[in-house]
Structures are given as structure tokens and as C-alpha cells.
């Protein structure tokens, strides 16, 4: 009974000073909003990375030449992977489902007067499945075409748009690096991963790429799909042993290739976005604390302004605790209302970010609960000192306060 009256009263005194209440809530509103929006942004980034990784192909393992990135620089001789390595992997390593050699290069694409510079991927027939490339129109490359170094190409979605605009591309002839290729298929759009676009490319037989277009005898990458449920670490170890043997490497020599598996990449991506999220969340958390100080400030003013009221209440029998509860309730109400408004702001700005920039945001229920309860805790924490000050006022002094 007293509680509800006190609550009603607290609400009434907040309503009596609408602008002031709003301004003192602003810190909490922004803080909570920022926490929710930042965590939504972080979770969105993580989801995007995971989607990307999955779209690269499940159970994918990539073997790159060289020793991998050392302090951001690719070191070692990059011409260490051969076609024979790829064949040997498929034949000797267990639990491997498919292998595709990959050679990469850039070339000028030309269709009549339309020109574009794009990447050329020389691959095997298995590449499409390993890398999750889906055909939009036409077909993939056949093994017969690989055997006879056929001049056929499957084009990425952006490349098609650029070269053909509205013309039906299948069956058309495109010049890639000055050589005429027949378009046999187009790919569904896949999006980009970093600076590299999976939509702006031409996929051709690796035989054609190595001998006719790029003129190389080494591979840029070997893509492997391991069997469903296979142990990635075992496969990776087997791969490494095989390649070291084939490359005749001494015990103390570093690998001249490096294997990346998806689990690792997911882990890296997750830890990066987690750090990012933590950082943003931390900054947002600081603004919550600042908001709490704003509430404390206004509560101190309120207590001073209402000294006489406190005196009257004490005279008619309010205990110190009653006064404490009253002012504490007011600051909690302030921070909780601010928190609710902040949830609105956070969710709203997350949705707006997605709507405007297309950047994925994932609003996490736990972040809403976390931010709200943090806001209320701040109300209790920063409201306690002013409320205690009110509770300990001497009734005579309070009654004679002007």
C-alpha cells in the first residue's frame, strides 16, 4: 500500500519536472541504447563472417604456397605447389572427398565494346562443389573440357552484368586475355570477402588457365573438401606430412606451404569480432556510468529542493527508511524509464543501421536484459547516496528549511 503510493508519488514528481527528468535520463538512454546497438552490431559482424565462411564451403581446407603470413608479410617461395601435389593428396590422404587445383590471375575481359578487368580462376570440376558456387544459368565445367584444355568459362554475376548488360550470356564469346572463350554458365551471386569479390570472376579449366592464359606450371592454391564428420586436425596433419615428404623437406625446415581450415578461420573471425564487441560494449558501458552520475546529480538537487517535504514527512511519522525508499525508488524509476527508452533507441538505431547501410545487426535479448538491469543497478547505486542524505536529515532543520 505504502509502496504503491510511494511509487505513484515518485512517478508524479518525475512528471512534475518533465524536461529535467528527461535530461537526467538522457545519459542512461544513450548508454543503454549504445550498449544494445553496439552489441547488435558486433553480433551482426560475427554472423556476417560466419555466413561468409560457410558460403566458402563446409569442410573446406585450403593449402597455400609459402609459409603463410608472418607479421603480415607472405614469406617463402610462393611457387611450391604443383599439380602432382594435388593428385597425390587425393590419392594418399584419407578422409578426403574432393580436391581441386587452383590457379589465379587477372585478365582483361572483352565482349564487343564492353571491357572489364577481372580475376580468372583455373580450377577443376570439383571446385564448384568444394567452394559452394551455385550455377545460375547454364552448367559447370566438365572433365572432358579440362582434358582438352577447352576454352570455356563460367562467369560471376557481376562480370555478367558488366559485360552483357541485358544480353543472354550463355553461348556468347568473351575474350579473356585476348583469347576467345565460350560462356557455358553463370554463377549465383555470393558477395565479397574482404577486397576479393566472388561475383567478379571467370572460372575456367585449370589446364586452359595454366597453359593458354597464365602460362604457369605451379598452383596458387589447392582446395580440399574433407569428408563429412572427418577430424580436421588428423586430415591436416596427414596433409602436412605428405607434402613435406613430397617437397623433400628436412626435419628442422619450416613448411613451404600452409594449410588453413575453416574451424581455424571461424575461430579467428569470432575472436576478432568478440574483442571488437567487448571494446564497443565497454565504451557504451562507460557512458552508462556517466549517465548514473547525471542521475545522482539531479537526485541531490531534488533532495535539497524537497528538504521541507522530507521534514513534513518525518514529522508525521515517516521513518528514515521510508524516506530512503522513496528517493531510491525515484532514482530507480528514473534509470529504469531511461533504460526502457534506451532499449527503444538501441533497437531503433540497430534496425536503422541495417535498413540504411545493409550492415547486418543482430539484437540479442541478453544484451537488452543486461543493459536494462545494469541501468537499474546504476539507479540504485547512484541513487543511494542522495536518498541516504535525505533519510538522515534532521526533522527540525528540514521543517525550517526555506
Amino acid at each position: 500500500m505504502l509502496f504503491w503510493t510511494t511509487l505513484k508519488l515518485a512517478l508524479r514528481s518525475l512528471m512534475a519536472n518533465k524536461l529535467r527528468s528527461l535530461l537526467s535520463m538522457l545519459g542512461i538512454i544513450i548508454g543503454v541504447g549504445a550498449v544494445i546497438a553496439m552489441l547488435a552490431l558486433g553480433a551482426g559482424a560475427q554472423k556476417q563472417v560466419l555466413d561468409q565462411v560457410t558460403s566458402m564451403g563446409a569442410n573446406l581446407m585450403m593449402i597455400m604456397p609459402g609459409q603463410g603470413m608472418r607479421a603480415g608479410v607472405r614469406s617463402g617461395n610462393p611457387q611450391t605447389l604443383t599439380l602432382d601435389d594435388a593428385t597425390a593428396i587425393l590419392e594418399n590422404v584419407e578422409q578426403i572427398h574432393m580436391v581441386s587445383p587452383v590457379v589465379r590471375g587477372n585478365a582483361q575481359f572483352k565482349y564487343y565494346s564492353n571491357n572489364t578487368q577481372s580475376s580468372v580462376m583455373g580450377v577443376s570440376t570439383t571446385y564448384f562443389e568444394i567452394r559452394n558456387f551455385n550455377i545460375d544459368k547454364g552448367r559447370t565445367i566438365t572433365s572432358a573440357e579440362i582434358d582438352r584444355r577447352a576454352k570455356v568459362a563460367v562467369l560471376g554475376a557481376d562480370t555478367v552484368t558488366e559485360l552483357f548488360e541485358d544480353i543472354e550470356p550463355i553461348g556468347q564469346e568473351v575474350k579473356i586475355g585476348g583469347i576467345a572463350f565460350t560462356v557455358v554458365g553463370t554463377l549465383k551471386s555470393k558477395g565479397s570477402m574482404g577486397p576479393f569479390s566472388y561475383d567478379d570472376l571467370a572460372i575456367i579449366p585449370y589446364t586452359t588457365a595454366m597453359n593458354r592464359v597464365l602460362g604457369v606450371d605451379y598452383l596458387d592454391e589447392i582446395d580440399v573438401q574433407i569428408e563429412e564428420g572427418a577430424d580436421q586436425e588428423t586430415v591436416q596433419a596427414d596433409l602436412e606430412t605428405l607434402l613435406r615428404k613430397r617437397h623433400k623437406m628436412r626435419q628442422d625446415e619450416d613448411d613451404d606451404f600452409n594449410v588453413r581450415n575453416m574451424a581455424e578461420m571461424v575461430e579467428t573471425a569470432t575472436s576478432v569480432t568478440q574483442t571488437f564487441t567487448l571494446l564497443l560494449g565497454g565504451v557504451a558501458g562507460i557512458s552508462l556510468v556517466v549517465g548514473g552520475i547525471g542521475i545522482m546529480n539531479i537526485m541531490l538537487v531534488t533532495v535539497t529542493e524537497r528538504t521541507r517535504e522530507i521534514g513534513i514527512r518525518k514529522a508525521i511519522g515517516a521513518k528514515d527508511r521510508d524516506i530512503l525508499v522513496q528517493f531510491l525508488l525515484e532514482s530507480i524509476l528514473l534509470s529504469a524509464l531511461g533504460g526502457l527508452a534506451g532499449v527503444g533507441l538501441g533497437v531503433g538505431s540497430a534496425l536503422a543501421t541495417t535498413a540504411i547501410s545493409g550492415f547486418d545487426t543482430v539484437i540479442q535479448p541478453f544484451s537488452v536484459i543486461l543493459a536494462l538491469s545494469f541501468a537499474v543497478t546504476i539507479g540504485v547505486f547512484f541513487g543511494f547516496y542522495p536518498a541516504r542524505r535525505a533519510a538522515l536529515l534532521d526533522p527540525i532543520d528540514a521543517l525550517s528549511y526555506e
Binding site: M1, L2, T5, L9, R12, S13, A16, R308, E309, G311, I312, R313, K314, A315, I316, G317, A318, K319, D320, D322, D394, P395, I396, L399
Partner: protein, 229 residues
Amino acid sequence: MERVIEIEGLRKNFHMGDTIVKALDGVTLAIVKGEKVAITGPSGSGKSTLMNIIGCLTKPDAGEYILAGERVSELPGNRLAAIRNRYIGFVFQTFNLLPRLSALENVELPLLYAGAKDARQRAESALHTVGLENRMSHDPAQLSGGQRQRVAIARAIVTDPSILLADEPTGNLDTKTGEEILSLFEELHAQGRTIIMVTHDPDVADACERQIHIRDGRVVNGAIERRGN
């Protein structure tokens, strides 16, 4: 006759810089249940301090104060709030209503602090007693001075306290309204309530059965009830 207040040897000092002011210098008095008493004295006489002690708003430095059988002077400070709530009804010169509450809510408040269940009905009946049954939902700002003081009186009597303690209850009112308030006090007195008015207005003091006169922290007149009156 039952004594509702017994005070003996009450002392209270204030420190003003280096000097010690003896606000109360051994006050002894008694008030009987159902009495209507005025405490008078010039300003600085110590009557406000006496009123604050009687009202349990502060504690004496020395001496004994028994209110309704409770040895209040020996209670710890944090219990005084409950004593005020139960035994004392305050009426102030400046009414001291809470501005954001309606008349009814103002009157209800002491009952809510007491944890009473039937607060609403009792508050309504108290407002009835002071003749404000038609103004219950008004805010203090919508009421005249006299009406505000009536609300304050309703708030004071709603807990059915042992004493009504009024501090210059007509001080902020015009003569006519003041007389109305005094006759309301007289009605309450006729109903058997014990009323103590602190005043330096002779008209208010004359309306009481007995005057306790304070000067320089001592009772100079009227300390004990007229026995067998």
C-alpha cells in the same frame, strides 16, 4: 486524572560558536488528558525548543519526558518516528501540506506510514470532521488558507493521536478564518482531544483552559493543571 504528558527537569543547550545558549533550563510541567493548553512566551524564550521536544522531533540533553506512559526521553532517535506517528498530530503555522498530493492523500499519509489498512475510509472521515468532505480531491494549491489548515488538522487527527500539537495555527490566517480554525479546535477539544497550542497570540492563548508561560528557558506560570477543576 490521567496525565498524558509528564515533563521533569528538561534541559537543552545549543552551541552558538563559543557560547552555550540554555534554551531549556529545567522545565517541569504536566498536561492532563483532554486538556486544552497554550504554551506562550516571547521569542527566544525556549518555547519552540519545548515544542520540538514535546513533538518528539528532538531529544532533551537531560530530564525526563513521559508521553502517554512511554518514557520517550530514553528512546533511541530512530524510534521517535513511530512515536510521532502514533501519539502526536502536528498542525503548523504554514500548514505544511505536500503540494503534489490531494487533500485526501495528504490526510492518508500518516496512516500509510503506520501501515494502516483502512487508510482511505479513515482519511475521508477525518476530512468530514473538519468539514471538507467536498474538497477531498483538491490539491492544496486549489484551497484557501483556512481550508488548507483544515486539511492539516484532518491529517493531525486521522491517526487518533494522544495530543494535537499546534504551532501558531492561526498565524498565517486572517482574523475571521483564524477564529473559525480556533472554533474547530474547540470542537475537537469538546470531543475529548488533548490540544497543545504554542503561540504568542493572546487571543489564541485566551481560548485555552490553561496557559503555560515560558521565559528564559523556565516555566514561570501554569506548570501544573488546576486540580479538581
